[in-house]
């Protein structure tokens, strides 16, 4: 059913952002050419990734290999449905975030560094998505750490340096764990391929398998902000808003989650993991994280900090769903990569617009903002509805399939987790909306500064997409169909169970 095709496009998709970064560095402080390069590269990449979609839906797999760097350690790209899904989400959001960032970052310093590394981040993210084996994935995963560091440090002040140090401490330690796990996988399996749906088998022995599982999950769990490895994420909020958006919606956290999905479905394989039972423990951890992180989000007074804690909670949805090891769970987990990305990036964009228009960054300052920025706050409302799980928004689709998956797996308790989490989400988003729309603006406040349409436009597009993902999920050529294909491969089922 599946055909592997030799194709240059996976390589080009990675290289295009790299070339863009080079061009941005080369033009130095010339804003017009910087914008032209960034936007055109984003556009070309968007087209390249989407052009692989029809083939992938037909079961074609585009691959590009460089051959082995060491015995059994190859460098290559292979675009399967899961990877394509992740790449679609990140290349789409790159276009939107670039537009937003060009407006948001106007008048900031070191912009050539900022946009250069911004492009490099997406380059590495697509590299992670298309990685044919664990080694290639790891290379790009570490590169991503290196490339996001200058973005977090952008302000170059004390807080930024502290956040940057913390970020590196966490992510580099995580990388070290993955490295150790990868060596163990190689010695047990003799290969690092991610194309075989499980390269380990039970003969490796319980002790090694458990060590590998813990090392790899903890390693990827750092970027996925899986508690208790989440500490870097709220700290990294000092970065400029487009970076927060990139970190929390697109590149970094999703790279971690994507790594976990690869470990569960491609390194261990659903069958082996079901026999071993490790995934149950991880699912329980993820379930706990969902609740605890939501409670923490409630206590935050800064908008971006609340968003960060909500991210921690939402990422665990993906991990939880993946750990159910049933087809519907896999589907929920993959589709939530997109759903969370679009909803969360909407919110970050909104936070940036509020900051630029009114200078407000705290939850309790939001009174009356809805009247000053009606469109923006409407978009925020849409995104909140998605997180709460209101039908016809993206978040509902996730919750629906996750609950179905939990029932399919016989773990009814997670349906309860979904319900509680929905309530908690309501508890921390609704007061913000209430404040914004129904409380009067304090009398002595200055008027809002008008904000560039290049910032409001992306907000509205993302909000519209949140509704589109929810209402039109099963329309052809929507990400849902890709997710369905990805889940089908992940769980090794040719026929979709009805």
């Amino acid at each position: 059913m599946t055909v592997e095709l030799f194709d240059l496009r996976p390589l080009l998709a990675v290289l295009i952002s790299l070339a863009c970064a080079g061009a941005v560095f080369a033009v130095r402080e010339n804003p017009r050419w910087r914008a032209i390069w960034s936007l055109s590269a984003a556009g070309v990449k968007f087209a390249l990734v989407w052009s692989m979609l029809p083939g992938a839906l037909d079961g074609k797999i585009h691959a590009f290999g460089f051959g082995e760097v060491l015995p059994g350690v190859a460098f290559g790209f292979r675009v399967d449905a899961l990877g394509l899904f992740f790449a679609l989400v990140s290349s789409t959001l790159w276009v939107i975030t670039t537009v937003y960032a060009l407006a948001y970052m106007r008048n900031s310093h070191s912009l050539s560094r900022f946009f250069g590394y911004f492009a490099l981040c997406i380059s590495t993210t697509v590299g992670i998505a298309f990685a044919e084996n664990l080694f290639t994935l790891f290379v790009f995963y570490e590169l991503l750490t290196v490339c996001t560091y200058p973005l977090i440090m952008h302000n170059e002040d004390m807080a930024a340096r502290r956040a940057g140090r913390k970020y590196l401490l966490y992510t580099l330690s995580g990388g070290a764990l993955i490295m150790a796990g990868m060596v163990m996988v190689y010695t047990e399996a003799g290969t690092l391929s991610l194309a075989e749906g499980g390269i380990l088998d039970a003969s490796a022995g319980h002790a090694s398998l458990l060590t590998i599982f813990v090392l790899l999950i903890a390693g990827f769990g750092v970027k996925a902000a899986l508690m208790p490895l989440h500490g870097w994420l709220p700290a990294a909020m000092v970065a400029p808003t487009p970076v927060s958006a990139l970190l929390h919606a697109v590149a970094v956290v999703k790279a971690g989650v994507f790594g976990i999905l690869r470990v569960i479905y491609e390194v261990f394989g659903a069958d082996l993991l079901r026999d071993l039972g490790y995934a149950d423990w991880l699912a329980m951890l993820a379930g706990t994280v969902i609740i605890i992180a939501s409670i923490n989000a409630l206590r935050q007074t800064h908008i971006k900090a609340r968003l960060a804690w909500s991210t921690i909670s939402q990422l665990s949805y993906i991990v939880l769903a993946a750990c159910l090891l049933v087809p519907l769970g896999a589907l929920a987990s993959i589709i939530h990569i997109a759903n969370q990305a679009f909803s969360k990036i909407t919110m970050f964009f909104v936070a940036g617009v509020i900051e630029r228009a009114t200078g407000k960054t705290r939850v309790d300052e939001l009174a009356g903002v809805g009247r000053q920025l009606p469109w923006t706050m409407t978009a925020f409302t849409v995104a909140s509805m998605s997180f709460i799980g209101v039908p016809l928004t993206a978040g509902f689709v996730t919750k629906w399939y996750l609950s179905l998956g939990a029932l399919q797996a016989g773990s009814e308790v997670f349906v309860g987790v979904m319900v509680i989490s929905g309530l908690l989400n309501a508890a921390y988003w609704l007061p913000m909306i209430y404040q914004a729309f129904f409380r009067p603006l304090p009398a002595n406040r200055p008027d809002a500064v008008s904000v560039s349409p290049m910032m409001v436009g992306p907000v509205l597009i993302c909000a519209a997409y949140v509704i589109l993902l929810g209402a039109g999920a099963s329309a052809p050529a929507m990400p849902f169909s890709v997710a369905e294909a990805a889940a089908r491969f992940a769980i090794q089922l040719g026929v979709w169970p009805q």
């Binding site: 350690v73 460098f75 290379v139 170059e156 590196l168 764990l177 150790a180």
Partner: protein, 493 residues
């Protein structure tokens, strides 16, 4: 032309003679001396390349000096280990290219021709050491590169240089003595100085004299390689020397100690029972060195001291790999000998470029230099990332192979050692990169610095490319060194 048999001795003779002629021909003419030294090193590199091509085409080369056949005469041979002469010559060439402007400031003008002479003689000694098949010659060439190294450390203007050189001299002389004594023991036992013949004739049934020789050789070479805990001469000597000399010492001269250990393993290939305890202790000392060196590097304020301690750590990795004695770990160690050499030359030269332009060597003083010297800062960054062993950079290949070997040998704890040491390296790399890229300048000379001259940037550029290239060339290098492994441990699988 390629059939001409005398390339092998030329490899050592050319730099030795070229070096000896430098002060005679070019005293007090630094630029001419520089041209001469670079030309000699380039010619040596070409000879090494010719030999490498012959080795790949037709297997090992052997050459009887003066036509006297081995056992009576001196044998030179060129094998996979000796092929290290190519990277050695190339790295010396790059360091020499870098030296042109650097020595004008760092070395007294009257000594410059001697400086070039000593570097060439050092290269000649190294090449001779790598290609000789004779135990006594091994000692002689070791003395040539060691004595020239002591003198090179002392050429620096800094007041500590003479003291560091003296410390280096004492330790070095002691280790040479141990080696000479052991060579004597082996000769007394076998009646031959040829390594292959001696290995075949060595009577290992009664442990005593052989064990003495093994211990002497191993300790002697371990001091040269700066294996923990006999590493303490290294940081001062490497930090005090002029930067290109630090590069050569850290990248090549300590590696000669490793090669000496490899030759020792060849010599005692038949003695499984003797070797095993030594290999075991090498593994543990290597692990201590890897962790201790990285920790010490982390707390240094002087960038060259930091790099010097990281050499101790990397020698630790290499010796873990040698001691594990599985095929992948040994090949990994041999590859890391080359890759670490490239990385370390890059780092010391980049640090040298900073020192040359600003006179600053404290990490905190390097703040803001990335804006003023972007290429040098980038080279430094690439070197540090490579050093930490992040794929796909040069440092990764060796560490991966050694880690795989450790697991195959059933010693996962060593994987943890490698990973933790790698993290420590990353930690000090971050300190340096932060200072260069994300802090405003704190010193006037750093704020007013200009990019290094071309003769410095060119080697930095080549080595930066090398850090990327070697990371991708792991497979090729593995295939190349693999044939050398079976000859090393004899009975041990």
């Amino acid at each position: 032309m390629t059939e001409w048999p005398h390339w092998l001795p030329i490899l050592a003779v050319l730099p030795l003679v070229g070096g000896a002629l430098t002060p005679l021909l070019f005293h007090r003419r630094p630029v001419a001396a520089w041209f001469w030294a670079v030309s000699v090193a380039a010619a040596t590199t070409l000879v090494a390349m010719t030999l490498l091509l012959k080795l790949i085409a037709s297997g090992g080369l052997s050459y009887a000096v003066g036509g006297w056949l081995p056992q009576y005469g001196i044998e030179l041979r060129f094998d996979e280990i000796g092929a290290f002469a190519l990277p050695a010559s190339l790295l010396v060439l790059l360091s020499l290219s870098f030296s042109r402007h650097y020595v004008a400031r760092a070395v007294d003008s009257g000594r410059i021709s001697f400086y070039y002479a000593l570097i060439l003689i050092n290269l000649g000694g190294l090449n001779g050491f790598l290609i000789t098949g004779d135990l006594f010659n091994l000692f002689v060439f070791m003395e040539i590169f060691s004595v020239s190294a002591y003198a090179l450390v002392a050429t620096a203007r800094e007041p500590v240089a003479a003291l560091a050189a003296l410390k280096y001299l004492f330790l070095g002389a002691l280790s040479s003595l141990l080696v000479l004594f052991s060579v004597g023991v082996v000769f007394a036992m076998t009646g031959t100085l040829n390594i292959e013949d001696a290995a075949a004739d060595l009577d290992l049934s009664t442990p005593m004299p052989a064990a003495l020789a093994l211990a002497g050789l191993a300790t002697g070479f371990a001091v040269k390689a700066a294996l923990f805990p006999v590493h303490f001469w290294l940081p001062d000597a490497h930090a005090a020397a002029p930067a290109p000399v630090s590069a050569i010492l850290s990248a090549l001269v300590v590696k000669a100690g490793v090669v000496g250990l490899l030759r020792t393993l060849e010599l005692f290939a038949g003695g499984e029972g003797l070797l095993q305890p030594m290999l075991n202790s090498i593994v543990w000392l290597g692990a201590l060195g890897a962790l201790g060196g990285a920790l010490m590097a982390l707390v240094q304020r002087d960038i060259k001291l930091m790099l010097a301690y990281s050499t101790v750590a990397n020698i630790g990795y290499i010796l873990i790999g040698l001691g594990l004695s599985t095929a992948s770990a040994t090949t990994g160690a041999m590859i890391h000998v080359v890759n670490h050499a490239v990385i370390k030359v890059l780092l010391f030269l980049a640090a040298g470029a900073f020192i040359h332009r600003t006179g600053l060597r404290c990490i905190d003083d390097l703040r803001g230099l990335a804006r003023r010297m972007p290429f040098t800062a980038f080279a430094m960054g690439v070197g540090l990332v490579s050093l930490s062993g992040v794929p796909p950079m040069a440092g990764f290949v060796g560490k991966w192979q050694i880690a795989v070997g450790a697991l195959q040998a059933g010693r996962p704890i060593l994987v943890a050692v490698l990973v933790i040491a790698g993290l420590l390296v990353l930690a000090f790399s971050v300190r340096v990169t932060n200072a260069m890229y994300f802090r405003p300048p704190s010193r006037i000379s750093a704020a007013a610095a200009t990019e290094a001259p071309v003769s410095m940037l060119f080697p930095l550029l080549v080595l930066t490319a090398g850090c990327f290239g070697l990371g991708m060339a792991g497979q090729v290098m593995l295939r190349f060194v693999a044939p050398a492994v079976p000859g090393l441990y004899g009975g041990i699988p």
